[in-house]
């Protein structure tokens, strides 16, 4: 049948509401805790109340005899289970053996010591309280610089200097840059320990099918396939007999980019009791035992000319690692080193990292993972330099940006920035906020004794993590596209989105490429028995790598469909539109459904062509992508209370091409909320004995609705040449751009008092004290 080719509206670039939402807004989505199984038991983990202690003995008798209890296990029982894995490797890295249950010693408050299994959760918890552990309490150290001092308690007795590794990187000629400098500014800058606080805590359900030697693990993770590989190794099971299912995941932010003791522990328990077992982390446990983020003390030196041109950067990072390495712990500060020049044309850098053990829960990837620390540092230093030279902070940035003609740009830290127009978002943001008028208003208000600040941050970041040589476990991503015999399209993505909306954005890509209705597309993720091997969702990689794998799988599939078109129409030269495959030569068409049915029925096949319409691609990215942007924050400081009020928040982000602006807005807002949390309120505080003082939502101040400003979000668009979609990634941008803009704004407000730096979080108490100290 001949049809007229009509232009069908494309979906990429449209604000489409999400296809995953109906189950979420009706309360019918399945998170780990929603899984029920016949005969399911509950586990409660007994944890150390001490930050450092020897275990003299553990008495489990009373717990074992408590009502409903079927088993109690301690470190002796699980000694043969492999250690919790560290995937990062650095020269000379010291890796403590991380048992899933403590054996001789405990190293942080919350360290798992025993597990109690009972027929319901209340009885399990009752019995957990009956486990008696006799501890020989040892001195603890929780502050990384103290841990490096002579005579500090040794976290691991075999390494009395508490040093896990030293790392050094040089680029260009730093000594020459500093010798030629007309001005050098220095500052110690802290990026405090943060607690990721996903609203769904971690949770595991494990089911052992003994007859099949099959272990099914339901876990709230960002990386189901890696969990399968690594947990199978820990439990000495064949990998293909471990199935990891990731149902709905209630937020991760990096905290679920990991393999945790409890994932293997529940597998072990399920095997021992031969019944399904469920463990759901309490919020208290989540604060104590799920990884924390950041934890830097940074020493910066910036060398420059008097005109503001930056010549070189020196950075020493003291990284608080905590007591162990989790999956990526030691690798995180190396990302800070890569990112240390920011988006400035600075050929000379020197970085040193000291990785320090402390008696705290390990740090690891938290939204931004190393890049927020680096961005905070360089963006603070640029402002300090501007203050030293009496230059405008916008002007000094414009002067130092990598110029457009230099792309692709080789950084002194060994990266190749893909594309950028760094002045564009800054100019746009300055325009939106009315910069010059604000400076005038600020001058007027200062005369009245009022404190108005304008803070700029121009950030760059590393997304689409990452090329395989730069990642511990492969940095590619996979996609399978199947056109079913009925013409419906099923996508299986190895990326495991959990709130990022790829069930929608991937369906948009498919709908455009195949010319089908978005309603005919289903995106499946998060089950290792269904989905081909994949890496996962983190490092703003889902769309840039997973979406690209999908794009190439679609191209393969279209090539095959074209062969069927040549057979059943008259030409391989066809257009995919409106569910039809239309010959460009004759205008004749067949529906995709008809061609799909014919491909499976296989009565007649094109030459050298197999039946069916399925394509799988594993796409290895040739480079990272490098989004950038400018955030400007206007603050008013209450001189009486020290409270920081955000009057305006302008964010101009460039994340390359945008597939769904509604979803991108959501990512920007959420990222900024977490950046603002760090800038103003959040901090994990341990006392000198290693007790976490901010161990509940009462004490750890995540942003709430009435504390958040209105965010004015805008974009510039510089497509990435790294992938055919031209996308860069946006999951972490808000967090990375935010904190220096806020701190720069507050320091700007207080600059008449001679304030040059304040460490986060900028609580009213801290700001008030700074002001009081300067006034007196």
């Amino acid at each position: 049948m001949a049809t007229t080719i009509t232009k069908v509206e494309t979906l990429v670039g449209k604000r489409i509401r999400r296809r995953e939402d109906p189950r979420l807004i009706t309360g019918t989505a399945t998170y780990v805790e929603d899984i029920q199984m016949p005969g399911m038991h509950y586990a409660a983990v007994v944890r150390s109340p001490h930050a450092a202690a020897k275990i003299r003995s553990i008495n489990t008798q009373a717990a074992s005899e408590a009502p409903g209890v079927v088993a109690v296990f301690t470190g002796k029982d699980t000694e043969k289970v492999g250690p919790v894995p560290c995937g990062a490797s650095l020269p000379g890295l010291r890796v403590p053996h991380h048992h899933i249950l403590a054996t001789q010693r405990v190293y942080f408050v919350g360290h798992p010591v025993a597990v109690v299994v009972a027929r319901d959760r209340y009885l399990a918890q009752d019995a957990a309280d009956l486990v008696e552990v006799d501890y020989d309490i040892l001195p603890a150290v929780t502050e990384p610089e103290r841990a490096l001092a002579q005579g500090a308690p040794a976290v691991h007795p075999e390494w009395p200097d508490n040093t896990a590794f030293n790392y050094h990187q040089d680029g260009g000629d730093v000594d020459k840059a500093f010798a030629e400098a007309e001005v050098v500014v220095k500052q110690r800058i802290i990026s405090q320990r943060l607690i990721p606080t996903a609203m769904e805590t971690r949770g595991v359900v494990a089911e052992w099918r003994a007859a099949d030697r099959q272990l099914n693990i339901y876990t709230s993770t960002q990386i189901p396939h890696l969990v399968r590989t690594l947990v199978a190794g820990m439990l000495a099971l064949e990998e293909n007999r471990v199935r990891v299912i990731t149902p709905e995941v209630g937020g991760g932010f990096g905290s679920k980019l990991n393999v945790y003791a409890e994932e293997a522990l529940m597998g072990f328990v399920a095997q021992q009791i031969n019944k399904p077992v469920k463990w759901i982390e309490s919020r208290r446990e989540n604060f104590l035992c799920t990884i924390h983020g950041r934890g830097h003390v940074d020493y910066y030196e910036l060398a420059a000319k008097r005109d503001g041109a930056i010549l070189g950067i020196k950075l020493k990072i003291i990284q608080d690692l905590g007591a162990y390495h989790q999956l990526l712990t030691p690798a995180i500060p190396t990302l800070s080193v890569l990112m240390m020049p920011g988006i400035y044309n600075t050929p000379n850098v020197r970085a040193d990292i000291v990785g320090v053990f402390t008696n705290c829960v390990p740090t690891d990837a938290y939204r931004g993972a190393g890049r927020p620390e680096a961005t905070h540092g360089i963006e603070r230093m640029v402002d300090i330099l501007a203050d030293e030279l009496n230059l405008d902070p916008a002007e000094i940035r414009l002067k130092n940006f990598v110029p457009q003609e230099k792309f692709p740009y080789q950084t002194a830290t060994g990266l190749t920035y893909d594309s950028g127009d760094y002045a564009a978002p800054l100019k746009k943001a300055l325009d939106i906020v009315g910069y010059h008028k604000l400076r005038q208003e600020q001058a007027d208000l200062r005369k009245q004794g009022k404190w108005l600040g304008v803070g700029i941050s121009t950030y760059g970041e590393i997304c689409a993590i990452g090329p395989s040589p730069a990642t511990p476990a492969g940095g590619w991503e996979s996609a399978t596209v199947k056109i079913e015999p009925s013409g419906k399209v099923t996508v299986m993505t190895g990326a495991c989105p959990h709130g990022q909306g790829e069930e929608t954005t991937f369906a948009q890509i498919v709908a455009d490429e195949l010319g089908v209705s978005i309603d005919d597309v289903l995106v499946i993720r998060g089950d290792t028995a269904i989905v081909q091997y994949g890496i996962g969702t983190f490092g703003s990689r889902g769309t840039a790598i997973g979406g690209t794998a999908l794009y190439f799988a679609l191209q393969d599939l279209k090539a095959k469909i074209r062969k069927f078109a040549a057979l059943f129409l008259d030409s391989e030269d066809v257009t995919f539109s409106g569910g039809e495959v239309i010959s460009n030569a004759s205008g004749k068409s067949k529906s995709l459904r008809e061609l799909a049915a014919a491909s499976y029925r296989a009565m007649k096949l094109p030459p050298n062509t197999e039946p069916g319409l399925v394509a799988t691609r594993f796409w290895e990215p040739p480079n990272f992508t490098f989004p950038f942007g400018a955030h400007i924050v206007v603050t008013e400081i209450d001189g009486q209370t020290g409270e920081v009020k955000i009057r305006r928040y302008v964010a101009v982000d460039d994340c390359g091409n945008i597939i769904n602006p509604l979803i991108v807005d959501g990512q920007v807002h959420g990222g900024i909320a977490q950046g603002l949390g760090q800038a103003l309120w959040e901090q994990a505080v341990y006392d000198e004995n290693g007790q976490l003082l901010t161990g509940e939502l009462m004490d750890y101040a995540v942003p709430k609705a009435h504390r958040m400003p209105w965010i004015e979000s805008d974009h510039t668009t510089t497509p990435s040449p790294v992938n055919p979609l031209g996308v860069k990634g946006v999951g972490e941008a808000g967090t990375i751009g935010c904190s220096p803009a806020v701190v720069n704004s507050v320091v700007d407000a207080l600059s008449p008092l001679g304030v040059r730096h304040i460490d986060m979080p900028l609580t009213p108490e801290k700001v008030w004290n700074v002001m009081a100290g300067r006034r007196s």
């Binding site: 309360g27 998170y31 932010f253 709130g499 939502l697 609705a705």
Partner: protein, 154 residues
């Protein structure tokens, strides 16, 4: 102890331990999956339900305290296959990402408009201040409540 309550229009009666939390009764006895446990300390609001017409945090109540109560959870909001206006608004405005806080957020947002059909942005934010969302930065949730208010006024 015996408790009776009406949940989403159905009557239930069970023998429960006095210490059983209402959230666990709803989730485990009645097999509801909408109300979530986010903190066990009434700080996050993921467990918010409607009890006798008031939004309450079901992790901070015992099941026995709800004896005789009429309860609506997120599962009971849609009727005859039609989403409640607040559910529709959350969907349209992209007011959720991971979705874990969403059932509680929607129940609280519904209550905000029941108490004040034309709230200002500040009033919406105050009304949401007992519910934590870690994904959205709240802006799209505020937009959803505004949009639902406009839609309800039509």
């Amino acid at each position: 102890m015996n408790v009776r309550m009406t949940v989403n229009g159905k009557d239930y009666s069970h023998e429960v331990e006095p210490r059983l939390l209402l959230i666990h009764y709803l989730r485990e006895q009645l097999a509801l999956t909408g109300p979530h446990v986010g903190c066990e300390t009434s700080l996050c609001g993921a467990c918010t339900i409607e009890l006798n017409g008031r939004a309450v945090k079901s992790c901070a109540m015992f099941a026995v305290q709800a004896d005789g109560a009429k309860i609506t959870t997120i599962e009971g909001l849609a009727s005859d296959g039609q989403l409640h206006g607040m559910q529709e608004a959350f969907w349209n405005e992209h007011a959720l990402q991971c979705g874990f806080c969403t059932p509680g957020m929607i129940m609280t947002s519904k209550q905000i408009l029941e108490r004040n059909p034309h709230p200002t942005e500040e009033e919406i934010r105050e009304g949401l201040s007992g519910n934590i969302c870690r994904c959205t930065g709240y802006q799209h949730i505020v937009n959803a409540v505004k949009a639902a208010a406009v839609a309800a006024g039509k």
